[in-house]
Assembly symmetry: C2
Homo-oligomer: 343 residues x 2
DNA sequence: CTGTTAGCGCCTTCAG
DNA sequence: CTGAAGGCGCTAACAG
């Protein structure tokens, strides 16, 4: 049926070991150019391709990383960001010669029943996309010595390696962009009432930039939900004396920024003439709207690459964990920011 | 190090074969309840979990399907739809006990150099998301007898199994919804000048519904690109006598519909008061906008499930290919459609 | 430089 | 009802 290494060996008149060495370009063993040629030819003639499974069984390594997606990936508000990140990881994995298999957060029921799914040998290690804070998945995997890297700052276990965009610096850069445009009343918007770690970090960057110029930071909360967003935006920008109204808005995501832009416009406020707004992530969501968004681009590919490198390092040496790689984002200036109307 | 089947066997005082039979709940071999108990206990005590790799080597089956993503998945216009579909497939795969590994279209360089990536034993078969028409990937995989199912109607090789939403019926339903609201001048919008097969099908459904009521179908082309969209929409709806202007618009995707709504609104036309608009896919993109979109929901989970079932059937019996499953979509009526202003 | 010898961890006949 | 034997396809020492 399918052609195996022994067929090639027979066809080339050599041993299986020799075939293996030739095809793996083994550095340790030197093979005569003539036999090497013969083996290569035989392999080609027979259409031979090694079995990754058999190979994995002996090498105890599959050159495969598992990606654990968040449970609620289906939420469209998350989809553009995770698509972008997922793409970056896929691309990086290909470049690093790694295969990718996908698990969803729903795969994780609890430690006892789910752990084995992640350590049946299919994958050499795991990349964790954002997991719910109340899940025991991280500590369980760490306890089980499964090589694992988080794609977000988990703000938790010291043993966990992770990569992340530099949220503080990124937010600072975004804020400084508005400051440089002459804005003084700049507000930072959270997406949740109990903010996630990355939101807090982004506020920190914002605060740093503001206080560095002697300005007072302030913040609000605007949720995704249309009605709640409306209710939150109105008091902050509409029912508010013009001379107290913020002229600059730092949002926590592109989705939030888009939503805010839409609401403001419907209330007759112009963006960017009256109010400048910035997003975060540059995940493509803004392409849907008429307003090109000034935002901070996350280095998706580089994040993926760094994460996989951290993981491979850990696979090679289990003690190499608890590492981190914080990568800079890039300010992308576009049509939602302009000089402050006060100038 | 890691506990293997022989450890369990020793611990339980039985042979490896017996352990295997017990743990696989083998139907052919009957095992005494007492030993079965003993084996189970031993396995639990030792924390034993079988190696999927070793298992795969003997069974020659990994219970894993490969998903081949389109090369340009990174395009955000595609991202919401493919996220939705991908999610449906992931969910279905989990329910059917299948693992998932992901390839990107970029993995496919050409037949000779890339084929082996898909047949090194990691995956039992492949699910193809939309692949470029000029790629030889489909014919090559079919020639190589790799079990494969397309997630779109490929409109090509008869040997290829595929699943798809019923584009014709779906489009008909959408059109009838507008007709029932009293619309008469309804236009169908393509997304490309050389339309893809699914776009053509959707126009067919539209045409059927129109002619069934004695109305004349017409179409236009509106591309994603902001400037091109603007240029296309204006002559069709703005520079046009009111009594000739279409009051209903059938779009090929949610993204397109959203774009069109935005442009019309900026030109002072009201949706749905002046013009009713429908999307296609219900992929969540509309959540970003203020206007809740009437659209046709694709049965993402069911599509995934059907595709995997077709694939498993094919894996069990290679001759079972060339099958198709066309699934109905669901009209989701929301805020972009209303009775025709002519009534 | 190349072949021999052992497995990797599991499953599947086939005897007992 | 259970165990022994053989092999899946490959790689990694270790000899020659």
């Amino acid at each position: 049926m399918s052609v195996s290494i022994r067929d090639v060996a027979a066809h080339a008149g050599v041993s299986r070991a020799t075939v293996s060495k030739v095809l793996n370009e083994s550095a340790t063993a030197q093979i005569a150019a003539s036999t090497r040629e013969r083996v290569r030819l035989a392999a080609k003639e027979l259409g031979y391709h090694p079995s990754a499974i058999a190979r994995g069984l002996t090498r105890k390594q599959m050159d495969t990383v598992g990606i654990v997606l968040p449970p609620a990936l289906s939420a469209p508000t998350a989809s553009t960001f995770y698509s972008s990140l997922f793409n970056g990881v896929l691309q990086a994995a290909a470049d690093l010669g790694q295969n990718v298999t996908v698990f969803t957060g729903e795969h994780w029921v609890d430690a006892k029943t789910s752990l084995h799914r992640f350590r049946d040998g299919r994958v050499d290690g795991l990349l964790l996309f954002y997991q719910p804070p109340d899940s025991d998945i991280i500590s369980t995997l760490l306890d089980a010595e499964v090589p694992v890297v988080s794609m977000d700052d988990p703000h938790g276990d010291e043993r966990l390696s992770y990569v992340d965009v530099d949220n503080i610096a990124g937010s600072r850069v975004v804020t400084e962009h508005l400051l440089d445009l002459g804005h003084q009343r700049i507000i930072f918007l959270y997406e949740r009432h109990t903010p996630l770690h990355y939101e807090i970090q982004r506020e920190v960057g914002y605060q740093e930039a503001m206080t560095a110029r002697g300005l007072t930071p302030s913040h609000g909360v605007v949720r995704y939900n249309q009605e709640m967003a409306e209710a939150a935006v109105k008091p902050l920008f509409v029912d508010c004396p013009v001379n107290e109204r913020p002229t600059g808005v730092i949002c926590c995501s592109d989705w939030q920024a888009i939503r805010v832009v839409g609401i403001l416009k419907r209330h007759g406020l112009r963006v960017p003439e009256d109010i400048s707004i910035t997003g975060f992530n540059d995940d493509g969501a803004a392409l849907l709207t008429q307003t090109p968004l000034t935002t901070l681009r996350q280095p998706y590919y580089d994040l993926g690459k760094a994460a996989i490198e951290l993981l491979l390092m850990q696979i090679a040496d289990r003690t190499k964990r608890g590492e981190r790689r914080i990568l800079p984002g890039t300010l992308r200036i576009d049509g939602t920011t302009a000089p402050s109307p006060q100038n």
